[in-house]
Symmetry: C2
DNA sequence: CCAATAGTTCGATTATCATTGAAATATGGA
DNA sequence: TCCATATTTCAATGATAATCGAACTATTGG
């Protein structure tokens, strides 16, 4: 991941509403959430929400899919992983170290 | 980690110069870098650099220590880990999953 | 085709942030 | 003490971002 993409992604997350939206999507998992449901969970008004969802999508951290009248949004887990990896890349000059070793979630195999 | 701290940390990283500075600090490891050295590595002019270092420190992502004429800056690895954990917290609703499992650096024990 | 539901776009306003030269401060050595 | 080196503060400027009501588009069912 290049610097520019990382900055864009970080900027997308560096905002109250968008961080709340993104975390909701992460917690929802691969099934995603309809825009309306996100609004319900976060209390963000529709026009603002749409704006923020577009930002997240544009940053590559979320994707959308039309499903009838609804638009389903999903977290882009791979982009997220790339971002985390970028932030800690070559930690401590590549020498054996332990400062930064995040363990995001259960390492078990996906059940979906 | 609460939302506010996370937004502050993300905002601190969501900027070209600061991201470059932070990554340099991560790669430097626990020994840190003098401000001048960071300027040398990144090409950021002193006044700008000082501004950005203050932002990173204020966000809790870096710390500083006076050492003679120099000021040594270090990445705050623990804050970083908390941030990464916060972003992926309760991933997929806590169910066994694999979407987000970053492996930041060698899991071996620190040698420092 | 019409009404209802789901989301998005637009636009005007407000607020916040990045940049950097010049001046100030701090430290160490002769 | 005095100078050179290292870093920070100040202040003015320019640029970018957040907010949200109202109007618009899209889809479904009757």
């Amino acid at each position: 991941m290049e610097t520019k993409a990382a900055v864009t992604a970080l900027a997308a997350l560096a905002q109250d509403s968008r961080l709340a939206v993104f975390r909701a999507l992460v917690q929802a998992g691969p099934e995603g959430l309809a825009a309306g449901k996100i609004g319900e969970l976060t209390g963000i008004p529709p026009s603002s929400l749409s704006f923020h969802l577009k930002e997240l999508s544009h940053a590559g951290l979320a994707s959308s899919q039309q499903a009838g009248r609804f638009v389903i949004y999903r977290a882009e887990f791979e982009a997220m992983n790339h971002l985390l990896a970028f932030l800690t890349e070559n930690c401590c000059g590549g020498n054996p170290c332990s400062p930064v070793c995040s363990q995001a979630c259960s390492p078990s195999k996906a059940s979906t």
